[in-house]
Amino acid sequence: MAFVPTSESRALLSPALTDDEVLRIRNDFPILARPMGGHPLIYLDSGATSQNPISVIEAEQEFYEQRNAAVHRGAHLLAVEATESFEDARETLAAFVGADADEIIWTSNATEGLNLLSYAFLNSSLPGAAGPAARFALGAGDEIVVTEMEHHANLIPWQQLAERTGATLRFVPVDDAGALDLDAAAGIISPATRVLAFSHASNVLGTINPVKTLVAMARRVGALTVLDACQSAPHLPLDVKDLDVDFAVLSGHKMLGPTGIGVLYGRSELLNALPPFLTGGSMITTVTMERAAFLPAPQRFEAGTQKVSQAIALAAAANYLTETGMGRVHAWESLLGQRLVEGLSSIPGIRVLGPAPGEERIGLASFDVAGVHAHDVGQFLDSKGIAVRVGHHCAQPLHRRLGLTASTRASTYLYNTTSDVDTFLAAVAGVRAYFGA
């Protein structure tokens, strides 16, 4: 199950989890014990949403039972404790991604984080925006560059920003093997490029993109970089300072946390120059009837009541992952990814999308079954207790590039065993016969 690591890979730096360790980890996830229609649940949809360990569920419950109060206001002890827990959670997430605490902004999800940036850049581009915001202003002649493999969340906010400012949206194409065409990128990323937004790992292909190479291209032309870390932060050691990106987003529910919480990372100096997106309570210094002055980041971007219990539960998830060891999680899932792609590739009529067997990928594989629609594949697997994702996975342009409208995706996490993968592969081998394809 060996593979050739990518140029920036850290997958081989740590020993993988062992089968015994994974079996112990599974005991921490109550839902994994639930039978599905008479079968044991085989959950291979963590790329869409991950399951929660008991420590995460208890952290949220404990907050409501013991420490619930409004944060950043109120002089009573409960409010003090709630605020401390909330800010401790920020420090935990900052450490998890290698940032400082004041560079971590809570959002509802990664989509909101990307929209926050898009709207803050738009606000910087409006007539009358001046001063430090000028560095973010976009207009005709400016270019925003994304990639052809983006999730819609890292595409549409930039389409909208381009449309509203007169800037041009361009994209780095994907080659037939599911890798970014870096030669093309070198031509596309030019002095006109103001923003380069791209995913760390593809939610469809499993490709791990060469972040440092792309960041270097952006730096040379003075463009800002935005990293979609939704499929990387949960699965591999992430260090935003080492990668040297300007902004990054991640999603809580994809990394063992609850729904309704995400993180936007931004370099402190940039966040404090960026105009706010949502305005209102909790993000101001002095307010008159005519105008308001804003707090520095992160409060500058956290108007209104925050997602307190979710942030605290997300910190519990980050602690769980850190204690397990992100390097070891990454190494384990790399093996599962190889097992998936090798097994799928050996089944007649299956076309695996993205990197070939033996090339590094995260622990997921999307595939097309000749003559059988992805929805039917998913339904067939569901009848055996196997949960996978079907559809375009919020990446229509990428599917179109690959000549498909939909695919089936199996995505693993630290709680998946090799036997999960093998049971899945055996089931996939029976799909075409069932549908007469």
């Binding site: 339904q379 067939f380 079907v390 409208t405 939909a406 549908f435």
Partner: protein
């Protein structure tokens, strides 16, 4: 509920038969007025275009093109087989009955007297995510029919 209750043999067969598929190949019958409707399921990207031709108060022809899962393709195939030759009021009643069953979350039994082969889709109603697959061509047919009737009554 077993997979076999969802994917009844009749559905698997119709998914391959695709009765009535091929819009370009079959022209609208002379003297009939036609309407056409394109529907897309944004969840999965499935799409279907249905053309209904009406003549003398009857469905003279129903043709479709589309791509999608076995449920959506079989549903369009059964629809085409059922519709041709029905009077417009009867066809509308069949569409209404099909919708009622599909949206009932398994509570309403399909009447084979009314729905014919389309009664096989009864089991789909228990799979909320698949109801749209079964409905997509019927929604298109309803829209196409309304257009055909409008154009036939136009001065």
């Amino acid at each position: 509920m077993s997979l076999e209750q969802l994917y009844q043999q009749i559905i698997l067969e119709h998914a391959k038969l695709r009765t009535g598929s091929g819009l370009a190949e079959t022209p609208v019958p002379a003297g009939a007025s036609a309407g056409q409707s394109h529907q897309l399921n944004p969840v999965c990207g499935d799409e279907v275009t249905v053309r209904v031709a009406v003549s003398d108060g009857k469905v003279a022809q129903l043709r479709w093109d589309g791509q999608g899962c076995s449920i959506s393709m079989a549903s369009a195939s059964v629809l085409a087989e059922l519709a041709e030759g029905m009077d417009v009021a009867g066809f509308t009643a069949v569409i209404d009955s099909f919708r009622d069953v599909l949206r009932s979350r398994g509570k309403l039994a399909a009447d084979p007297e009314i729905l014919g082969d389309a009664a096989a889709f009864e089991g789909v109603s228990k799979y909320a995510a698949r109801v749209k697959c079964a409905m997509i061509s019927w929604v298109a047919a309803e829209d196409a029919l309304a257009q055909a009737r409008t154009s036939s009554t136009a001065p």
